[in-house]
Amino acid sequence: MKTRASGVVLVIALLVVWEGSVRLGFVQSSNWPPFSAVLAALYHGIVSGELLSIIGSSMWRMLRGYALGSALGISVGVAIALARPVRLTLEPTIELLRPIPITAIVPPLIFVLGLDDRLKVICIAFATFFPVVTNTISGVTAVDATYLRVARTFGIPRAQTIRSVIVPAALPYILAGLRTSLAIALVVTVIAEMLAGDQGIGHYLLSMQYALRAPEMYSAIILLTLVAYCLNRLFVLWENHVIGWARSREVHEAP
């Protein structure tokens, strides 16, 4: 961080400009509150518990969808990677479904599942599934055939081979997929909450916008960003803990 001092200064300077532009009267708009007002709203929102409970409910939704999608993604991914018949059967459908923008799926699903949590969790799971399944397939297929041959030469039973050779070798890829889909899960949570129902941070942002309560809206964005940042950091820490040994290896997947 010490070398990025110039960058930190830039951020602070921009915040000062923001504050100054309002206080000094350059920008007169209710949509452009001073940064201090945003901080105040943030403080009140946290202290009153309102913002925290809203974000909390969003997180709860997200985690359920994320867990569901990840579990499905990993199991299907392993099955596809290990059994060619499974791959031939399932992969075309997966590849057909993948490019569909998740937002397009929400309205039809509203008819089927209504506007409550079930809809959102399913949508989050759907979006989470694809990066996880792709990375899992990559990871398992990348396990060097040599290792597998060695295991077979020594007569190691299949189940144990999966446990002690394939899973550890595929882990860096799988975790990379989980990391990517964590960010996606958060995005889809916000989207689903904006499009359906009256729960969560997504809905809160929209209602603050309709009510023209800009400080509350910005404070929610800040809080959401902090949560996103912390989630990512925590995940990376955990990831490093689990597979610190593979850090030098290059893991291929989109950022």
């Binding site: 960058g7 923008p101 397009a104 916008q209 989109a254 950022p255």
Partner: protein, 256 residues
């Protein structure tokens, strides 16, 4: 990614599986196992989709969506590549901008939609801005990575033949980093499509997203599904187009 099946017979299990699922839904909807009012039979949806296509009612919304999408996407990518090359090549630039980008990047971009709606209204300017913001960051990150990965030998070689720093950036660094920012651009394409549809759904003033949400709010179930197919095809088409373009431009990288 799409891999050519070794034999065309390899495509059979997958096709059968897909058809089986569709047949299952068809059967369930027609026999009342599921409520056909919310899950219409696929054949009905196909007819609705065909109707949308043949009456040409898809043209204007699709053009609107694609127009806004491409404008925002192009802006975001160009900015992402330019900033990425700068930040990747010059430590000073990196140190200056990295904290700022690292603070803005984690913001889930749809969360910015209400704010942008307040500032920029509900028109295409707002949508283009949102898409550009969404597209910018994945491209930036992968461009920085790719720029840093450019081998110094290549740059030194160009220097010995008299190329100056600007030309080296343009003729060596940019092509060499292309496979990297192509990865970022692919991610950005997906996010941009998602974001534009959300924006259209919330502003309900045009584009495929607007049509989709309009049908949903009018409880026109089959129309909703029909427009979903339109969007699915757009997603599919863009993906395929991108893959083709990427292959043509970075054919050399898989081999080296």
């Amino acid at each position: 990614m799409q891999r050519l099946a070794k034999r065309w017979t390899d495509l059979v299990p997958g096709a059968l599986f897909l058809l089986a699922i569709l047949a299952l839904i068809e059967f369930a909807a027609r026999t009342g196992l599921v409520n056909a009012a919310v899950v219409p039979p696929p054949t009905t949806v196909a007819l609705v989709f065909a109707h949308i296509v043949t009456t040409g009612v898809f043209v204007v919304p699709v053009l609107q969506t694609l127009g806004t999408l491409f404008t925002g996407y192009a802006a975001g990518c160009v900015a992402g590549i330019a900033c990425g090359v700068l930040m990747g090549s010059f430590r000073a630039a990196y140190n200056l901008f990295e904290p700022l980008t690292e603070m803005v990047r984690p913001i889930p971009k749809p969360a910015l939609l209400p704010a942008l709606m307040l500032f920029l209204g509900l028109g295409s300017t707002m949508k283009i801005t949102l898409v550009a913001l969404a597209a910018f960051f994945p491209v930036l990150v992968s461009t920085v990575q790719g720029t840093r990965g450019v081998d110094v030998t290549m740059i030194d070689m160009a220097r010995t033949f008299g190329y100056g720093p600007a030309q080296i950036l343009w003729k060596i660094v940019l092509p060499a980093a292309a496979p990297y920012f192509a990865v970022g651009m692919r991610v950005s394409l997906g996010i941009s499509l998602v974001v534009i549809v959300v924006a259209e759904m919330l502003t309900t003033n045009g584009g495929v997203g607007g049509a989709l949400i309009e049908m949903q709010q009018q409880f026109q179930v089959r129309q909703t599904y029909g427009w979903l197919v339109v969007l699915a095809l757009i997603g599919f088409g863009l993906n395929a187009l991108f893959a083709w373009a990427e292959r043509r431009l970075t054919f050399w990288s898989a081999a080296s």
